[in-house]
Subunit: 147 residues, 2 copies
DNA sequence: GTTAATCCCGACTAAAAGAGTCGGATTTAA
DNA sequence: TTAAATCCGACTCTTTTAGTCGGGATTAAC
């Protein structure tokens, strides 16, 4: 529970890497995959989604690649999560469309859960990716060699 | 992703129900199960865990049941989650014991992720169950009949 | 002391979500 | 034309989540 999605992780890895580049410089998925040891196809798909979400842009063809186009200090983790994994919702009963929870009429915690959901979203919205990627905690037990 | 565990949900349902009772009054799992339509066995197990965690206490035998023993305004959601689902950790690479992430040496986002994890924990720690269970949001689209 | 209601506990099965792979298509610099 | 890259859908494998089952232990009521 509460585990961060692998996709979000790949997104962060990619964003952190691309962010350090010169303006206009492109990064291929291959570059990211070999450098950080992440699976090529999976990472590739995440980049595509980030591109369609407008956070990065792609250039096709040989010598193509990706590049960050938005100011990551103004992109929240919430936005990344919505782009990469879809709706950020803590419980099924909050889902408008396919309302799958069958406790609806009897449940006594819809309000608390929906409240929790709102606060969690606020938390993620307040967290800017740029700032997050800069964090350098002393607790990281293993070196971040390529940072 | 980010979905709240069913177990946590049952815990909240049970706690909210028991909290409204007279001091000393016991609640059986059957009562909760029939009232809110939650599965008996699953809910039962959650209550046992909550009891072993010291949030509620159990009385065995006929006319037995559970009862809240701690001030829920001083019990954080973090505590409940740790009791009910175990370690609150956002990524495998943060897990000391079974360190399953194989990107460790190359990963460039350990610090950000561990930072995120800490903030999320702080968020959950700051959220008191008592206060949460009182929330009555206007957005709850379906009535909470038995509240 | 028997019964019925309750908590207690481990093992099991089924369903859903997560993670990754594969095949092939499209685009474009060289 | 070729090679390097993005693009995309379908598929499998694994892990997690959710729930069930069978039986055991405790205790109030009769």
């Amino acid at each position: 529970m509460n585990k961060i999605n692998r996709k979000v992780e790949y997104a962060l890895i990619g964003l952190k890497h691309m962010r350090a580049k010169q303006p206009g410089e492109l990064t291929s998925v291959k570059e990211i995959a070999t450098l950080y040891g992440v699976p090529f196809e999976a990472t590739s798909k995440v980049m595509q989604v980030l591109a369609s979400g407008g956070v990065i842009r792609s250039e096709q063809g040989a010598h193509g690649g990706y590049q960050v186009v938005r100011d990551l200090n103004r992109v929240s983790l919430f936005e990344i999560m919505e782009i990469v994994v879809g709706r950020v919702e803590i419980a099924k009963c909050l889902h408008e469309v396919e309302n799958t929870c069958d406790l609806k009429t009897t449940c006594n915690v819809i309000s608390p859960i929906s409240s929790l959901n709102r606060r969690l979203i606020d938390f993620y919205k307040s967290l800017m990716v740029g700032e997050l990627l800069e964090s350098r905690t002393s607790v990281a037990r293993t070196a971040e060699a390529h940072a």
